[in-house]
């Protein structure tokens, strides 16, 4: 009896002693660590902030650098050809005559035609995945497939275009009684349309999924059908996001080189209609820069790059303006 009480006392004392000592030690250690840590933290914070600033500035320097390189290397061509370069319709390296208009026209034609062809598909996919079937195996299959479209290397699209699209377009052209070439603006637009679908589709999908459900429910409670909810609630609410997606698609189409160069026919002539052959700025640069041995020829190609760069910048700026107007309304 007695021993057990004694034992208990001892153990109790032991525990309390141990608690006190370990707590004290922990306090002391903490105090030391806190001082050291706060110094270290401040230093890390500064380093971190400086790193961010440097990386951010590096991006700006990089873009400005690219721009400057383009401008500097374009100087010989600017001097020799002047501003007339922009609307010159002849591109003849042998006679040293360079005009960018056929390629500017080729780029804009293929890109906007591709956009027009792709929008119905990308919006349909966005609405299907964003509103109708956001879950389930069919949705996953579609989502992954569409995302895969963006991951396929463009040379494969070019190859597929050569092997499949060109013959199809050729027989189609033959059946409607126009010169049946198969290559050209239309074929390039078809390829581009497929390639740009995922950009507008995935941005559109995430925008549509972000529409607050209480707005949709408000419309449903007033007797709206699903289609009416999409048209009157979801599309007005997401239009700036959908437009941003279209802009991403356009940017991709403007710059695409490989797939286009394989099916466009590579003729330095003004396209007469959407079935004629032609060339785009990106495609010309890729095709001819290697063999441009003359100073002006080389520089004219680089100026073409400058024009392409400016076109994308301008289109992006216009797009930002439109988006901000949509959002402010």
């Amino acid at each position: 009896m007695e021993t057990s009480v004694e034992n208990e006392l001892i153990t109790r004392n032991d525990i309390s002693l141990r608690v006190i000592t370990s707590e004290k030690i922990r306090d002391i250690v903490k105090g030391i660590k806190r001082v050291k840590r706060s110094h270290r933290q401040i230093r890390a914070e500064n380093v971190f902030r400086r790193t961010l600033v440097i990386i951010g500035l590096a991006m700006v320097v990089l873009v400005v650098g690219i721009m400057l390189t383009l401008i500097v290397q374009s100087i010989p061509s600017l001097k020799a050809l002047g501003i007339g370069y922009l609307w010159g319709q002849t591109w003849d390296p042998v006679r040293d005559v360079y005009g960018a208009l056929p390629f500017l026209a080729g780029t804009l034609l293929t890109s906007f035609l591709a956009l027009a062809l792709s929008i119905p598909f990308s919006f349909a996919v966005a609405i299907f995945l964003g509103e109708y079937y956001p879950k389930g195996w069919l949705a996953n299959l579609l989502k992954n497939t569409v995302e895969l479209i963006a991951a396929v290397p463009s040379v494969i699209y070019g190859f597929w275009g050569l092997a499949v699209l060109v013959p199809i377009v050729r027989s189609m052209e033959a059946s409607i009684g126009i010169p049946s070439i198969g290559y050209g603006i239309f074929t390039s637009s078809l390829i581009l349309a497929v390639m740009v679908i995922p950009y507008a589709a995935s941005l559109g999908r995430s925008m549509i999924q972000m529409v607050p459900s209480n707005l949709k429910e408000a419309a449903y409670s007033l007797g709206a059908t699903r289609w009416e909810v999409i048209r009157s609630v979801i599309l007005p609410y997401t239009r700036s996001g959908l437009f941003a997606g279209v802009l991403l698609s356009l940017g991709r189409a403007l710059g695409e080189t490989m797939a286009v160069t394989m099916v466009i026919g590579n003729t330095p002539l003004m396209p007469k209609n959407i079935f004629s052959t032609g060339n785009t700025m990106a495609s010309v640069i890729a095709n001819e820069l290697g063999e441009a041995d003359k100073m002006v020829y080389n520089s004219a190609l680089i100026e073409l790059g400058l024009v392409l760069f400016l076109v994308t910048v301008v289109i992006n700026m216009i797009g930002k303006k439109v988006i901000s107007r949509f959002t402010n309304e």
């Binding site: 879950k135 607050p212 209480n214 707005l215 429910e217 408000a218 419309a219 449903y220 409670s221 007033l222 007797g223 709206a224 059908t225 009416e228 909810v229 009157s232 609630v233 007005p236 609410y237 309304e329």
Partner: protein, 252 residues
């Protein structure tokens, strides 16, 4: 003798395998205010959303049983016609942010593709906004966006939007829980006016509100309709022990 407008017969609602409303039988008399109260997760909102077939909009949600509206089973009707006859007001005011106050009131017509002459629309807008005591406050700013109004005004705008469709029944899902006390009392006063023309079913968390505004009260607990009676009777002399416990605040 009051006639019954809504009657549920063995109504059950599920989310997947989760049985959230269990065998509810209730008769709701015309031109009355019915309060539906109960603790969180008791199925009261699900039951309310079942009445106008909003419940099944949620993926995986299903329902069984009958809900009779004037002797017609809404479970057999097309949900769109059901929702035209049974309007709904939600917990958070949800006017369409891209529409003006005017367009918000006639949004139901616009959504359903019903074209009306301007004079007719003006009449509906004025009439509906007057019904919710908002006309005087907004008649000079009808072209402004709905989101420009205060929370209480927005909620009344949403009621006007539902009223504009001339439904027979109006469902309210905790209509004042996002409002300040003054807006709450304005909305509560509205209920007395609205019940002259409509039957109101109001889900509320707030027992005092149920006692203040309703003619009859239904108490839900764990998905079951525990008690349904005159509000006075319910709050002074409840028959079920669970109702008693809830009213006296023993659980909430």
């Amino acid at each position: 003798m009051e006639s019954t407008i809504v009657k549920s017969v063995d109504y059950n609602a599920y989310f997947g395998d989760n049985h959230v409303v269990k065998n509810v039988n209730i008769e709701i008399p015309r031109n009355n205010v019915i309060a539906v109260m109960g603790p969180s997760g008791c199925g009261k909102t699900t039951f309310l959303r079942g009445i106008n077939r909003m419940h099944e909009l949620i993926p995986g949600a299903t329902a069984k049983g009958k809900i009779m509206l004037n002797n017609e089973d809404v479970m057999e009707m097309h949900p769109i016609f059901v929702r035209l006859k049974i309007g709904m007001v939600f917990q958070r005011p949800n006017p369409f942010p891209n529409l003006s106050i005017y367009d918000n009131v006639i949004a139901g017509y616009k959504l359903n593709g019903i074209k009306l002459p301007k004079a007719e629309k003006d009449k509906i807008v004025e009439h509906s906004l007057t019904r919710v005591a908002l006309w005087k406050e907004v008649k000079d700013s009808l072209t402004k966006k709905g989101s420009f109004l205060s929370g209480g005004q927005q909620q009344r705008l949403c009621i006007a939007r539902a009223v504009a469709m001339e439904p027979e029944v109006l469902l309210f899902d905790e209509p004042t829980s996002a409002l300040d006390p003054i807006s709450t009392s304005t909305v509560e006063e509205l209920f007395h006016e609205l019940k002259k023309n409509y039957t109101l079913i109001i889900v509320t968390h707030n027992m005092q509100q149920a006692a203040r505004v309703s003619d009859r009260t239904a108490f839900f607990y764990m998905g079951e309709l525990v008690e349904y009676d005159n509000t006075k009777q319910m709050f002074t002399n409840p028959t079920d022990i669970r109702t008693q416990n809830y009213i006296t605040g023993r659980f909430s």
